[in-house]
């Protein structure tokens, strides 16, 4: 079910009515939320709810055992069982064809003429998100960093909680399960702020991403022509806006919906396009994934505790796997590799050419970071290396007489939208939406709210899927 759909509006109204009615006690409400979460997921593809059940059951049992088991070897076996199941699902459903294709390509370079038939398996929506979430619980249990969930119901709801089930934020057990232990009711202000965030998230998705930017991206990246400099840049800039509005929009909706229930989810984006460098970027973009990768991959790989070479290797491996998390294709791995390279270069710069960041060079640095990020988006968006390479060549004037495919207004539109996006991130980078809203008069906030709602309604189409659902 998509947040930007009529069925979700009806679903949410029913859930809220039941949640705030006096029919259920707190346990009953949690059961209702769990059932609603399965309905939310099952309305997309009912049989795949079974995967959620298996993942939930395995990690619940593992957590239970890890809570009492002291034998190190047995603890490790339990951890490996959980990893095997979760990563096994992920590998089978998401990476099977990719691995098989590469295996075939390698084998065939030795002249074996091996042929495989793709299984065309459906990718369970949000599998990368909920497997990472359940794995974080088990790893934390193994490392004794978190308490065991008190009841199976609390744990199952943690794995399945519908606002963040299919595209995050990826929440740690200690941040969410503990919220289920005592009855939660949103205060009036929390509820209304949740509604505001839901409106803002839908505005980002429906108006900014789908209405103003998506067509430009599809036109540019769907073209098989060698493009003009401006067209290539506009398509890429439009994608940088589209993916931000799409994904940040989803996270904002998720946070807003959870708040309607009195549940607080962590921020996932903090104005990332005004980042001062790439370490800063990953503290602001998809925060819950980057902190997951830091805690469960980068640090276990050695982090910065074992010298420079080990640190850079850990950094690169983390980013390459981070790229692979996004999709089973070499283009995503290159995307991750570029980010890894940026992070390494940034650390080298800090070591050998340090400089103080001021207001003036800060903006230049933010703009440089944003430009470099755009180059990585080319590999993220292009389905093939040929397309990506053609785009890069066009963007750097390596294509003479590239084709013009965007009209003047589209170029103006994308420039204005992305320009405003960048400036908005720059001016908001050290504050928060809530802080700014507190300073606004009720009238100003009301008018902004009305404009967003009105534009959502007159823009709403057939309900485009969120980009991150495919990851």
């Amino acid at each position: 079910m998509l947040f930007n759909s009529l069925s979700f509006v009806v679903f949410l109204i029913i859930v809220l009515a039941l949640y705030y009615s006096k029919i259920f006690n707190w346990n009953g409400k949690k059961r209702m939320l769990l059932f609603a979460s399965y309905v939310f997921y099952g309305l997309w593809n009912p049989p795949l709810v079974i995967l959620l059940w298996i993942s939930t059951a395995v990690d619940w049992v593992t957590g239970k055992k890890l809570a009492v088991e002291e034998d190190k070897r047995k603890r490790l076996y339990w951890l490996l069982l959980s990893m095997f199941v979760n990563l096994g699902f992920l590998t089978f459903f998401k990476y099977r064809d990719f691995l098989l294709d590469n295996f075939t390509a390698v084998v065939n370079t030795y002249g074996y003429g091996y042929k495989t038939k793709p299984m065309d398996i459906i990718l369970p929506m949000g599998i990368s998100f909920y497997t990472f979430q359940t794995m974080s619980y088990t790893i934390d249990m193994y490392l004794k960093r978190t308490e065991r969930a008190k009841t199976f119901l609390d744990f199952a709801l943690y794995v399945t909680f519908f606002p963040q089930l299919v595209a995050g934020p990826i929440v740690r057990a200690q941040d969410l399960i503990s919220q289920f232990y005592e009855e939660k009711r949103a205060t009036v202000n929390q509820f209304l702020w949740g509604l505001f965030l839901l409106t803002l998230g839908l505005f980002q998705k429906v108006v900014m991403a789908d209405t103003l930017l998506s067509d430009t991206v599809d036109t540019v990246y769907g073209s098989d022509k060698i493009l003009n400099f401006w067209d290539a840049w506009m398509g890429t800039l439009a994608f940088s806006g589209q993916i931000f509005f799409d994904f940040a929009g989803y996270s904002t909706c998720a946070i807003g919906i959870a708040l309607l229930l009195g549940i607080v989810l962590p921020d996932n984006f903090k104005y990332p396009y005004a980042s001062l460098g790439f370490s800063d970027l990953w503290k602001r973009w998809h925060i819950t994934l980057s902190s997951w990768l830091r805690d469960y991959l980068y640090i276990p790989l050695g982090g910065n505790r074992h010298g420079v070479v080990r640190m850079y290797s850990a950094l690169m491996i983390t980013m390459l796997l981070g790229g692979l998390w996004h999709g089973a294709a070499w283009t995503f791995i290159v995307w991750g590799g570029l980010h890894g390279t940026y992070l390494i270069l940034e650390r080298l710069q800090r070591q050998y050419i340090p400089f103080k960041i001021t207001a003036w060079n800060g903006m230049f640095l933010a703009f440089t970071t944003f430009t470099c990020v755009n180059i990585t988006w080319v590999f993220f968006r292009a389905r093939k290396f040929d397309t990506a390479w053609n785009m890069i060549k066009s963007m750097f004037y390596m294509q003479a007489d590239g084709e013009k495919i965007l009209d003047t207004f589209t170029i103006i539109k994308v420039s204005i939208v992305i320009g405003l996006l960048f400036l908005c991130h720059w001016f908001m980078r050290n504050t928060s939406l809530k802080e700014v809203s507190l300073k606004k008069s009720p009238w100003a906030l009301g008018i902004i709210w009305a404009i967003m709602f009105f534009l959502i309604v007159i823009a709403q189409g057939s309900g485009e899927q969120f980009i991150y659902f495919q990851f």
């Binding site: 079910m1 998509l2 759909s5 009529l6 069925s7 979700f8 009806v10 099952g42 309305l43 997309w44 593809n45 009912p46 009036v188 202000n189 209304l192 702020w193 509604l195 505001f196 108006v207 789908d210 209405t211 103003l212 067509d215 013009k404 495919i405 965007l406 009209d407 003047t408 207004f409 170029i411 103006i412 539109k413 809203s437 507190l438 009720p442 009238w443 906030l445 009301g446 008018i447 709210w449 009305a450 404009i451 709602f453 009105f454 534009l455 309604v457 007159i458 823009a459 709403q460 189409g461 057939s462 309900g463």
Partner: protein, 345 residues
């Protein structure tokens, strides 16, 4: 933060704004219409699963949608056909789907618009891609999408601002923004295209009266056909061998399980008819198809009843003429024994 106050202000402004928006578009002459989208098509495709050998399916391009009126067909036969035709489409992907993915063994009326029927079997080409996307949607639609469709119907029927029309008639934000034109960096060669049909819940479609009464409106659509004819003349030639082989293979399977197929060539007029005669001559395309298919077939030029019919925009019949065409065509089919198991009499 006084959010309660903000919410009241927001709701008040929103209600005033959206009401004004709705009234504005109604004042411009627009009426609420259903969107002929994949979800609406999928509902009809779903009916095929339970269809019996008494049922009739209509397939083809927009000519079948405009020219074959379900009320008249039902009045003549007692059976309301299932309308599966799709605009700008070859009937082959949908015929292939029904033949290979259902056990339906009733009657299928296949509309033959030569420029589309004989165009291509390439999955990337529009005449194939459009109907195939409908078939794929039907196969993959989720329960959430089904629910969205049924929830959207009462809204579509009552609010103009939800119109999903595209291009020059579009009033969604994306369409309105898309109409802004600055400079001439890239010129879209296609003339503006009007949505000149109104569809009902079971996909019975009628031509908008303005197409008949306003010559300028009809001419704007004719310009689009001329644009496509020009494109076809300079584009790849029709793939007669490929399309015929594809169709005849499915036809054999369908016939073998007791199904009946009727081929129909709906009227076209003016320059479009001339273009069809030049590019896809009847003897070479239609007659050869009929000969090889060995099924009942009806070409509008073969019947006196249809000789005076004129398509206002060269390609489709007005609502009134479509009613007449359907009634007379069914009578001819009945007299010819093409339609069996009728529920009348």
């Amino acid at each position: 933060m006084q959010l309660k106050q903000s919410l009241i202000i927001a709701l008040t402004i929103f209600v005033v704004a959206i009401s004004s928006w709705e009234f504005y578009w109604r004042s411009q002459g627009l009426c609420p219409t259903l969107d002929d989208n994949e979800a609406l098509w999928a509902v009809q495709r779903g009916r095929v699963e339970k269809a019996t050998n008494n049922d009739i399916l209509l397939m083809g391009s927009s000519r079948v949608l405009f020219d074959m009126q379900l009320n008249e067909w039902e009045a003549e036969t007692g059976i309301r056909p299932i309308q599966l035709a799709s605009v700008g489409s070859s009937p082959l992907p949908i015929f292939h789907d029904v033949v290979n993915n259902t056990s339906f063994n009733g009657t299928i009326v296949v509309g033959v618009t030569p420029g589309l029927f004989f165009s291509t079997t390439s999955p990337e080409a529009q005449p194939w891609q459009w109907p195939q996307s409908k078939v794929d949607y039907y196969k993959k639609r989720t329960y959430a999408q089904i629910a969205n469709h049924y929830l959207s119907l009462p809204l579509q029927k009552n609010f103009v601002f939800l119109s999903d029309d595209q291009g020059i008639d579009g009033i969604k934000l994306k369409e309105l923004v898309g109409k802004i034109n600055v400079g001439n960096r890239v010129v879209d060669p296609m003339p503006p295209f009007h949505e000149f049909g109104e569809i009902e819940l079971d996909r019975n479609l009628k031509m908008k009266p303005i197409t008949v009464t306003d010559t300028a409106y009809a001419n704007s659509i004719i310009k689009v056909w001329q644009f496509f004819m020009k494109g076809a003349a300079s584009g790849p030639p029709p793939d007669k061998a490929g399309t015929m082989a594809f169709f005849l293979k499915d036809l054999e399977i369908f016939k073998a399980r007791g199904g009946h197929v009727i081929l129909v060539r709906c009227p076209s007029s003016g320059g479009l008819r001339q273009g069809e005669n030049m590019g896809l001559p009847r003897a070479e395309f239609w007659d050869d198809l009929v000969k090889q298919a060995q099924v009942k077939s009806y070409h509008f030029e073969d019947y006196d009843q249809f000789k005076d019919l004129y398509c206002p925009e060269w390609s489709h019949l007005s609502s009134k003429d479509a009613q007449y065409f359907t009634t007379e065509l069914v009578k001819i089919m009945k007299a010819d024994g093409a339609l069996t198991n009728l529920k009348t009499n």
